[in-house]
Amino acid sequence: MPRAVAVRRVRSRLTPWLFLSPWIIGFLAFTAIPAVLAVGMSFTNWNLRFDPQFVGLDNYAEMLTDDYRFWSSLRITGIYLALSVPIYMALGLAAALLLNQKVWGIRLFRTILFLPSVLSGVAVAVLWLLLLNGDAGAVNSFLRSLGIEHPPQWFDDPNWAVPALVITGLWTVLGNGAIIYLAGLQNISPTLYEAAAIDGAGAWTRFRSVTIPLLTPTLFFMLLTTIIAGFQVFDTAFTIGTGRGSGDSLRFYLIYLWEAAFRDGRLGYASALSIVLFVIGTGLVLLLLRTQGRWVHYEDGN
């Protein structure tokens, strides 16, 4: 083979890698290598002031048997997921159905609904802290006007703190979700609705037999991303529920992980916490992926 041809061939093989290299380097440096190191660190006792000491499974054992904050943060995150995922999905879909109507000014309504999504999570948290004030917040004033004498104390009551955070998130999540559902709704061919109508299907039947099945890929995507977002709750809970004078009621798993690593300096233990979170999250996602064949309908039949 002439040398020039060989050089050209090598160059053509290397060129894509060269273009990919910024991402590959970033992925290796900031994701893959730290993730592998975290697995190793999870078997150590290390707080930066001394060399890592190998402790085997001690960190995991402590988590399971001797750390109420692990269980408490896991429970809080679980409650948040159980509440937020169905509520955010259902209301996001409902908002998208409304925004899918062909009425005057609908583009303006879409923009208004999406606006809170671009606000800072911290600013939204502060705003809702005032709205959900147990004594004088607008929400409780409204509830009292409806005759509810003792409305929830929201963030002041550990039993209501997580539902309050779900409400806080609703405002920003709704717009994001609605836009994605809307894209899914607009991908459904109008001919299917026409055919269903000709067959005598009413609005509910068309929604149940046409919209929902054809929207299942979008629903599946939203389910996955809402669950992942639920595991990543940090900024609003951190703003409202941490700092001097705060209790445990909003110590989400990620906040506890952050405290263990960056407040207490227990990097080995925090790594173990991150591995457990990774296992739980991955397990849940894999479970969903395995079930999608039963309820997600792709247009190409796969």
């Binding site: 005032l130 004594d135 001097r244 004078g245 960056f262």
Partner: protein, 425 residues
């Protein structure tokens, strides 16, 4: 790629790598007189530090101090990595365990510059002392106190609280009842308010003398919570929600706002309130915080901290700066509102009756039970306290909270003990 381009690429990458390698703010690449100082971002308090630095530089030709401010939530990590990698010359220790990564300054600063620790507020010992050695010093004294509105006491025909004797919580509750003026939330005056008790109650009521065992199931602690919960129930002490709605936040700052707006006759808060109160027409006084009946006065105090990391490359200049901070720096600090650490300067600083009472109260401070970081483990106690103030049964709340707090306290101590052991190696 031709040869020229390859050369340009290699040169470019090399320059990039070299530039990045010099990115550390504490890189020792500067001259011998370039001193690095790492500290928490103190907002307006930074101004005093910057003037102290300017004055020191003016007295020391060729010395330049570069200050790096870091927000408090990321400071512990920043400090730890800085101490390991390329230690600053001067830094703020953060927590008892980090002090062991600093030089003791008893000889390096106090003896070398003929300074007497006894001339400073006792916070120097309680905040910077560990195992009989001093590791840092500061410019200011922060302390908790009971602020009261004299006009409201006069109107109720009540004598002002003493600035040298602490009242009991029962007396506090009785006073609050007499000072409360009923009305709707918008025009009501509450008799008293206070930050969470963990901010001002003597730790001997929830820790044993070693600081390792949590005990809240005792009469002193539970009785205090019961008294305060009773005050909320009686409407003489604002609930968390009322403080948030009237004061804007449900913490000490919210109480301070209520006090400034005439909604609160007295409150337990920190001395940062002095400047704000003195900017109004309110005639105020200051007393020690309430204590469990029979206790001596207990005044929680703190200071900003500056020490010399073990890895400092300019220990002599750093010691010189700390000595300057401990002397002339105190006078500069006095011009910036906060009470200076040096008692003689603090007395000069106290040019109003309120400030004089503040100095008097701060002198009542004394070291108490040592614990590496109370705020790292007391969340269950805070939850229990807040629930009690909402009217939930006090004993079951604390029976549930105590083992949780103990577990978290054990972890705090374990981390501290490991740091001590590592420092000893």
């Amino acid at each position: 790629m031709n040869h020229t381009r390859k050369v340009a690429l290699v040169v470019g990458l090399s320059v990039g790598v070299l530039a990045l390698s010099g990115c550390s703010p504490f890189s020792s690449g500067g001259s011998d007189s370039d001193i690095t100082l790492l500290t928490l971002d103190g907002g307006e308090d930074n101004l005093a530090l910057e003037e102290i630095v300017d004055a020191f530089e003016a007295q020391n030709d060729g010395v330049h101090i570069e200050i790096t401010y870091v927000p408090e939530d990321t400071y512990p990590t920043k400090l730890q990595t800085a101490l390991l990698a390329d230690a600053p010359d001067i830094a703020a220790p953060y927590g008892a365990d980090t002090m062991l990564s600093f030089e003791p300054i008893d000889d390096l600063v106090f003896d070398a510059y003929d300074l007497d620790p006894g001339d400073y507020n006792s916070v120097l010992e309680s905040f910077c002392g560990l195992n009989g050695k001093l590791y840092c010093l500061g410019t200011t004294v922060g302390n908790m106190g009971l602020f009261y509105n004299k006009a409201m006491f006069d109107a109720a025909g009540l004598p002002y609280p003493s600035s040298s004797e602490a009242m009991s919580f029962d007396d506090f509750a009785a006073l609050a009842a007499q000072l409360t003026a009923d009305g709707s939330d918008s025009d009501k005056v509450w008799g008293a308010g206070a930050d969470i008790i963990q901010a001002y109650l003597n730790p001997e009521h929830y820790l044993d003398e070693t600081g390792r065992t949590v005990d809240v199931l005792n009469d002193g602690y539970l009785g205090t919570v019961e008294t305060l919960a009773g005050m909320v129930a009686a409407g003489t002490f604002p609930s968390s929600g009322q403080t948030l709605s009237v004061g804007g936040s449900d913490d000490g700052l919210g109480l301070q706002t209520m006090f400034l707006e005439g909604k609160l006759a007295m409150f337990v808060g920190d001395n940062y309130a002095v400047d704000s109160i003195e900017a109004t027409d309110i005639q105020y006084g200051l007393a020690p915080v309430p204590v469990v009946a029979g206790d001596d006065p207990w005044v929680p105090v703190w200071t900003n901290t500056f020490g010399i990391p073990l890895g400092s490359a300019h220990k002599d200049v750093a010691a010189d700066f700390l000595a300057f901070m401990a002397t002339e720096g105190q006078t500069i600090q006095a011009q910036y509102g906060q009470m200076p650490l040096l008692t003689s300067v603090a007395e000069t600083w106290a040019d109003t009756e309120g400030r004089q009472q503040l100095v008097e109260v701060s002198k009542l401070a004394h070291p108490g039970i040592f614990n590496p970081n109370i705020w790292a483990w007391n969340a269950p106690l805070i939850d229990a306290y807040k629930a009690a103030l909402r009217g939930e049964p006090i004993l079951p709340l604390h029976e549930d909270a105590q083992p949780k707090a103990q577990q978290a306290n054990d972890t705090t101590w374990e981390t501290f003990d490991q740091a001590v052991a590592a420092a000893g190696d």
